[in-house]
């Protein structure tokens, strides 16, 4: 097993407000997981092995060589772990869409905490006659129990602590993860150098459109439609030109344009392309420019084909956007 005499690099991975898909994407390395196990010693990774926060707290500052942090910061526990792992890690990587832009859980920033709790605990499918809500503190016969409190807004990792590198994607593609882990491992061995701090790893510098082989001709959209409503999707023509709201124009490349090449519009999971400060602003700009109408009423009629503009333009990036959420959630 220990064929390498050198000290293994200490590796941690954590899930904050995440679905666990990023952890699965790392395990999806297949054979490359053997190289990974050879190079790295897992010191903390709740998805795959038992660990206690106290073990992490006992570690020396900076003693974890690299931490992949997936998930947004939804609860005080998430924030605590973000600060803890920041202190203990030499390299902290915001891993996956949640840690970078908030992802789907970030859409909760459209509602107040109270609305969220009502939806979760008193929704139509929930039987809760006593109107119980989770409470941060509870006195049980055995003693005081605590639940981490929700924060008013879901935050991205870099809104809470400093981040060294970012790996986008929901989840990041496993072959790109293998590249990133290979590069970080080599850098820790001293045989490679990492790009400047703050850089994106495991993705490109352009847009999904750049990776997509569909033909782009005339950019005029007379009406927006949805995939189920389309009789057939032209196999060779740009999906946006066919009226499908495709998020490729604003989304960072790196995934291989898998969705549009399979006939499904890009949903934007790789986050904003290089130099894009606000994903939604860039995308709505791209969509609006090709709307085939010049009069306000006609423009509105075409825009009605986008019934949920915030969901379309900020599906993965609301928490990381300039406004971060709806006004009521900020209060």
């Amino acid at each position: 097993m220990n064929s390498k005499p050198a000290r293994k690099h200490r590796f941690a991975m954590y899930w904050a407000s995440a679905c666990g898909g990023c952890d699965i994407a790392v395990l999806n390395l297949h054979e490359a997981i053997l190289d990974f196990a050879e190079r790295f010693e897992i010191v903390f990774w709740p998805a795959v092995m038992d660990a206690k926060y106290a073990d992490v707290e006992a570690m020396a500052d900076g003693s974890i060589d690299v931490t992949l942090f997936s998930g947004g910061i939804r609860t005080q526990e998430n924030a605590h772990l973000a600060r803890l792992l920041r202190a203990k890690s030499a390299i902290l990587v915001a891993f996956g869409s949640c840690a970078n832009e908030g992802c789907i859980p970030g859409l909760a920033n459209l509602a107040t905490t109270d609305e969220l709790l009502t939806a979760a605990f008193e929704g139509p499918s929930t039987d809760n006659p006593d109107h119980l809500r989770p409470s941060p503190a509870f006195r049980a016969p055995e003693g005081e129990l605590e639940l981490p409190a929700l924060r008013p807004l879901l935050a991205t990792l870099d809104q809470v602590v400093e981040v060294d590198y970012r790996v986008p994607g929901c989840p990041p593609e496993s072959e790109r993860i293998a590249e990133v882990i290979g590069l970080v491992g080599a850098a820790l061995d001293g045989t490679a150098t990492l790009p400047p701090r703050g850089s994106i790893l495991g993705a490109g510098w352009s847009t999904v459109c750049d990776e997509c082989r569909r033909d782009r001709n005339s950019k005029r959209i007379a009406s927006f439609t949805r995939l189920p409503l389309l009789v057939s999707v032209d196999a060779d023509v740009c999906l946006l030109e066919q009226g499908l709201p495709c998020n490729g124009p604003a989304t960072r490349d790196g995934c291989g344009a898998k969705c549009p090449l399979a006939g499904a519009p890009c949903i934007g999971c790789y986050g904003p392309a290089d130099g894009v400060a606000d994903f939604g602003a860039r995308l709505l700009s791209a969509f609006a420019s090709v709307v085939d109408a010049n009069e306000p009423e006609q423009i509105d009629a075409i825009l009605d084909g986008l019934p949920d503009p915030v969901g379309q333009f900020y599906r993965f990036s609301l928490a990381g956007s300039l406004l971060r959420g709806a006004r009521e959630a900020h209060r």
């Binding site: 924060r151 400060a277 420019s289 825009l303």
Partner: protein, 166 residues
């Protein structure tokens, strides 16, 4: 921000993006003709309303602006042929997004003004300031919209979000 003293002295901060060829000159004309409009409106000159990236508008709100005005040439008068029409389409789509995010339509308006329409531009600015003032401060910047970035944000340890049922 809700106390009465602050309300009574509240003046909205309004950013107006102007086109180099028409509305900026209209504002200039208003100046040389000594036509007054409220000082709440701060001008930013662009080469064309088509240059108004929706990101500028979002950044203005996130940085504390209470309203944003997009001004430009009348349709068919654009120095760059059709860019003001593209700006119109973006305006209408962005307004839908802003509305869903809780920013009232009155806080994001558009005004057409040719280089000769200094009077009309000043009147439009006056009207918009009067419409925005009763809406009160947006205060988005204070809500922490700009805490992202390289510096770690000051973390308010607000525990009072979850309530035990009464």
């Amino acid at each position: 921000m809700n106390d009465l003293a602050a309300q009574s002295t509240y003046e909205p901060v309004i950013l107006a993006f102007t086109c180099n060829w028409c509305s900026y000159r209209a504002a200039d004309l208003a100046g040389t003709a000594r036509i007054k409009y409220p000082p709440n409106v701060r001008l930013v000159r662009l080469m064309c309303s088509g240059r108004l990236d929706p990101m500028f508008v979002l950044k203005a709100f996130a940085s504390g602006a209470d309203a944003v005005i997009m001004t430009g040439c009348w349709p068919a008068d654009c120095h760059y042929r059709v860019q003001n029409v593209k700006a119109l389409r973006r305006f209408q789509l962005l307004r839908r997004v802003l509305e869903r995010l809780g920013i009232e339509p009155a806080r994001f308006q558009r005004v057409y003004a040719s280089a000769a329409e200094g009077q009309q531009l000043a009147e439009a600015f006056t009207r918009i300031v009067d419409e925005v003032r009763p809406l009160g401060a947006l205060n988005w910047g204070r809500a922490g919209a700009l805490e992202s970035g390289p510096k770690p944000a000051p973390e308010p340890e607000n525990q009072a979000q979850q309530q035990v049922p009464a």
